[in-house]
C-alpha cells in the first residue's frame, strides 16, 4: 500500500532522513520508532506532502507521488496528529470539522455521514454541535480520528496519536484505532517513541536513528526483546528502565 524507496528528506539543504526504504502492505500496521530527531515524523510529512525537499520514491497504492498531492490522494491518505488541542479549529463545531472534507470534495449526504462517523468513533451524538474546548482530550482525539476518516481513506498516518493523553484515555483511543482497523481494513503507518504501543497496535516496526533505518522487524521480536540491531535493543532496554 505504501512503498518507500531510498527516501532522503532535507530541510534547507541539510538532509535529515538518509536513504530510507520500507514497504507497508494493504491492511498492515507498521510503526516507525526512534527518539526525537530520528526523522520518524519527517518521513510521515514527506508522504503527506508537507515536506517538499526529498529524493527517492514514494508510492501509495502503486502510484508514484510527485511534489504535490491532489484531491484523489487525500481521499486515500489522511493523517492524525499528536495534539488534539492544536489540530482542531477552536471556533468550529464538531459538525463543521467533520462536514468540511465532504463539502470540499462535493460529497452528498453529509448529515447522515457525520452521524454515522460519530457513532463509529464512539462519540455521543449530543457532541455534534460542541466546540473543541467543550470536549475532553480523549473526545477531541476521537474527533480528529473521525475527521481523518470522513473521506473513507484506506491509509492513516498516525503521528504519536496518544502521547498527549492520560493512560486510561490512551487505552480507549488505542482500542478505537484497533477496532477501526479491523472493521475497515485500514493500513496504518504509526510514528511513536512508545514501544508498548507498537506491541499493541502494529504488525511490524522500523527502528530509526539519526535519519537512518537501523532495522525492520516483526512485532513478535519486539515483544520478546529480540530486536537484532544494537540500537533497537538499547531502545527496548530504555523503555523498560526509564
Amino acid at each position: 500500500m505504501i512503498g518507500i524507496e531510498d527516501l532522503t528528506v532535507s530541510f534547507n539543504g541539510t538532509p535529515v532522513v538518509h536513504g530510507v526504504s520500507f514497504q507497508v502492505g494493504r491492511g498492515e500496521s507498521f510503526a516507525l520508532v526512534g527518539e526525537s530527531g530520528s526523522g520518524k515524523s519527517t518521513i510521515l510529512k514527506a508522504i503527506a506532502g508537507q515536506a517538499h525537499e526529498w529524493t527517492g520514491s514514494i508510492r501509495v497504492g502503486g502510484d508514484a507521488m510527485g511534489r504535490r498531492r491532489d484531491a484523489a490522494f487525500v481521499r486515500r491518505v489522511q493523517m492524525v496528529f499528536q495534539d488534539p488541542y492544536g489540530s482542531l479549529h477552536p471556533r468550529r463545531t464538531v459538525d463543521d470539522t467533520l462536514s468540511e472534507p465532504l463539502a470540499v470534495h462535493r460529497i452528498a449526504g453529509r448529515d447522515g455521514k457525520v452521524l454515522a462517523m460519530l457513532d463509529a468513533v464512539g462519540l455521543s451524538r449530543r457532541f455534534r454541535f460542541r466546540l473543541p474546548h467543550q470536549l475532553s482530550g480523549g473526545q477531541r482525539q476521537r474527533v480528529a480520528i473521525a475527521r481523518a476518516l470522513m473521506l473513507e481513506p484506506g491509509v492513516l498516518l498516525l503521528d504519536e496519536p496518544t502521547s498527549a493523553l492520560d493512560v486510561s484515555v490512551q487505552a480507549e483511543i488505542l482500542n478505537l484505532l484497533a477496532d477501526l482497523r479491523a472493521e475497515r481494513g485500514l493500513t496504518y503507518l504509526l510514528v511513536t517513541h512508545d514501544l508498548p504501543i507498537v506491541s499493541f497496535l502494529c504488525d511490524r516496526l522500523g527502528v530509526l536513528r539519526l535519519g537512518r533505518l537501523e532495522e525492520i522487524s516483526e512485532v513478535a521480536e519486539l515483544r520478546t526483546g529480540q530486536l537484532y540491531s544494537a540500537y533497537g535493543r538499547e531502545l527496548v532496554a530504555r523503555s523498560a528502565g526509564g
Binding site: 527518539e35 526525537s36 482530550g137 492520560d166 493512560v167 486510561s168 484515555v169 490512551q170 487505552a171 480507549e172 488505542l174 482500542n175 484497533a178 517513541h193 512508545d194 514501544l195 508498548p196 504501543i197 506491541s199 499493541f200 519486539l222 515483544r223 520478546t224 526483546g225 527496548v236 530504555r238 523503555s239 523498560a240 528502565g241 526509564g242
Partner: protein, 277 residues
C-alpha cells in the same frame, strides 16, 4: 522527624457554578524520603504541589487543619515569608524547561540569582557555586553552559539546568511536577538519576508528581494515588502491583506492555469508581 506534615488539605476555586474543590482533604506526613503522587489530569496532584509551595493565588483558596514545613506553619504565611522559604528551603521543578527558564538571561546568571537573593555571596564565590552545581547535574563543560541562553540548550540539558537552579541552595524539600514528561525517553532516566542522586546525597525529601505509574514506582519509596481530588490508595512503591483500589487497578491494567498480546485494553469504568469512593 517529619519534614512536612499536612492534614486535611483543601484547595478550592470559585466558578460560575459555585465553588469547586480540586483537592479534597489530603494528608501527608513526609520525612526525608521519596514520595510519589500519581494521578491523571484533573486528579489534583499538581494543585497539591502548588499549594505546598504557596503558589495558589486568589481567587483560589487553600485551607488545612495542619500545614507545617519543618515546624513552620505555612497557613497564612505571607508572600514574603514564602519567598524566604522558596528556593532556599523548598523548591519545585516544573514540567517544561522551555517555559520555566527566563529566555533572556544567561543560564549561569539565572542559577546565581537564587544565591544572590538568599545568600548575598561575593560574585566570585557565587560563580564557583554555580559551576559546582552545574557539575553536580552532570553538565560536562559548565564554563560553556554558564554563558548560554536557554534556547541554546536541549530539553534534557534545560531540565538539568532547572534542577541545578533548584538545588543550588540545598533545599530540604524538592517537589518535582512531571519533571520528565516534556523530555525524550532517552534522557528521562538520566534526569531522574540526577534527581535521585541529589536527594540521597543531600538527604532531601522529594515529592515526585507524575501520571506515570511505572516511573513513580521505580523512583519512589512510597506512593499516593489521587483521583478526583482524593487520595484513593497509599502504599509502598514495591507493593503498587498489589494495589487494591479499583481506580489504581484499572490504571495499571490500561497501560500497554512491551510483551503485549491483549487485543483490547481494559478501560476504566469511571462511574463505578465514582460510586465506590
Amino acid at each position: 522527624m517529619s519534614l512536612l506534615r499536612v492534614e486535611n488539605l483543601r484547595v478550592r476555586f470559585p466558578t460560575d457554578q459555585g465553588e469547586v474543590e480540586v483537592v479534597k482533604g489530603l494528608s501527608i506526613d513526609l520525612g526525608r524520603e521519596r514520595l510519589g503522587i500519581v494521578g491523571e489530569s484533573g486528579s489534583g496532584k499538581s494543585m497539591t504541589g502548588r499549594a505546598l509551595m504557596g503558589l495558589i493565588g486568589p481567587p483560589g483558596r487553600v485551607t488545612a487543619d495542619r500545614l507545617e514545613f519543618d515546624g513552620i506553619d505555612l497557613r497564612g504565611l505571607s508572600e514574603s515569608g514564602f519567598r524566604k522559604l522558596r528556593g532556599a528551603r523548598m523548591s519545585m521543578v516544573m514540567q517544561d524547561p522551555k517555559f520555566s527558564l527566563n529566555p533572556v538571561i544567561r543560564i549561569g546568571e539565572q542559577i546565581g540569582e537564587a544565591l544572590q537573593f538568599h545568600q548575598r555571596l561575593p560574585a566570585r564565590a557565587r560563580r564557583r557555586a554555580v559551576m559546582e552545581v552545574l557539575e553536580a547535574v552532570r553538565i560536562n563543560d559548565p564554563e560553556r553552559v554558564y554563558r548560554l541562553y536557554p534556547h541554546e540548550v536541549s530539553g534534557g540539558m534545560g531540565q538539568r539546568v532547572m534542577i541545578a537552579m533548584m538545588v543550588v541552595l540545598q533545599p530540604d524539600l524538592m517537589i518535582a511536577d512531571e519533571p520528565t514528561s516534556a523530555l525524550d525517553v532517552s534522557v528521562r532516566a538520566t534526569v531522574l538519576e540526577i534527581l535521585d542522586d541529589l536527594v540521597r546525597r543531600r538527604g532531601m525529601g522529594l515529592i515526585l508528581i507524575s501520571h506515570d505509574l511505572d516511573m513513580v514506582a521505580r523512583w519512589c519509596d512510597r506512593i499516593l494515588v489521587m483521583y478526583a481530588g482524593k487520595v484513593v490508595e497509599e502504599c509502598a512503591a514495591g507493593d503498587l502491583h498489589a494495589a487494591t483500589h479499583p481506580y489504581t487497578r484499572g490504571l495499571l491494567a490500561s497501560v500497554p506492555q512491551l510483551n503485549e498480546t491483549r487485543t483490547r485494553l481494559p478501560v476504566l469504568d469511571r462511574d463505578a469508581i465514582g460510586a465506590g469512593t
